[in-house]
Amino acid sequence: MAAPTYTWSYVENIFGMTDVPKVVTMEASTSLETKIGTALIITSGQLDEATATVVKLFGLAMEATTAAATAADPIKVMVLRPGDVIKGTADADASTLSGFNGILGDFNSNGSLDVADTTDGCLGVLRTEDSGLTVYCVPSVGAIIG
């Protein structure tokens, strides 16, 4: 499966953590393909793309794959923490979600925030830019958060 189109980047931590997130190496799931910044979940002990119903968000890929991974291939991932703000793309104007108006925003399979889906996900929107299409989000639920 091709890596999702849209990627995310770390911005800051609103809980006062001044260190940047750590990058660790974890196992990939079968067929994982990533870009730098692909949002990743962890399931059954292995990393996979964050698509729909993302409740086990773990981090952002820190390397781009050149081919579909074999199960247990090593992948570098930035581990997201409580309070980390990540910047990404919404599929529509997300400005009404600003100020954490809901904290269970979900992903689309292309890696963007699904503005219409505010359940079964893991993201709260801190603020937006660019007519609501650039979103600054905080994960509220994850593999090791919440």
Binding site: T18, K22, V24, S44, Q46, R81, A143, I144
Partner: protein, 147 residues
């Protein structure tokens, strides 16, 4: 009097940064003996050794021995384990299959070991293992002040 669990734990690293645990002083449950390194829970406002059933209230790691049966609320020093901190301990049996945070609620057994067969009422998640799966590196994902 309840003997201290056989197996102890230690702070290993911080997955969320470069912190080390803060040590605080808290009140003890009556007659609860501890070793330095005993994983402890906070139940009803008092520290008690973490064993089977108190794993969802993990608070920290005992920073001193308590060798004489304490009276309720006697002081004990505890390393407070924060979200993202990795602690190293011993598993009852191989926990290798649970590496990579496969579940969030693993419990301990009566001896203070990680119990890979018990995912009820606990609060540990496995980052990785060593020594044929018998040494576990865990995060506290559900605890007295976590989760």
């Amino acid at each position: 009097m309840t003997a201290a669990p056989t197996y102890t734990w230690e702070f290993n690293s911080d997955l969320f940064g470069n912190r080390v645990p803060v040590i605080g002083t808290f009140g003890l449950t009556a007659a609860s003996l501890l070793k330095k390194g005993t994983l402890v829970s906070m139940v009803s406002g008092l520290i008690v050794a973490t064993t089977d059933g108190t794993g969802q209230y993990i608070f920290g790691i005992a920073a001193q021995d308590i060798e004489t049966s304490p009276t309720e609320a006697d002081p004990v020093k505890v390393e407070i384990i924060a979200p993202g901190m990795v602690i190293k301990g011993t598993a009852v049996s191989t926990a290798a299959a649970y590496s990579g945070f496969t579940a969030k609620t693993f419990d301990l057994d009566v001896d203070g070991r990680f119990d890979p067969t018990d995912t009820t009422g606990g609060g540990l998640s496995v980052l990785r293992t060593e020594d044929s799966g018998l040494t576990v590196y865990c995060l506290v994902t559900v605890g007295a002040i976590i989760g």
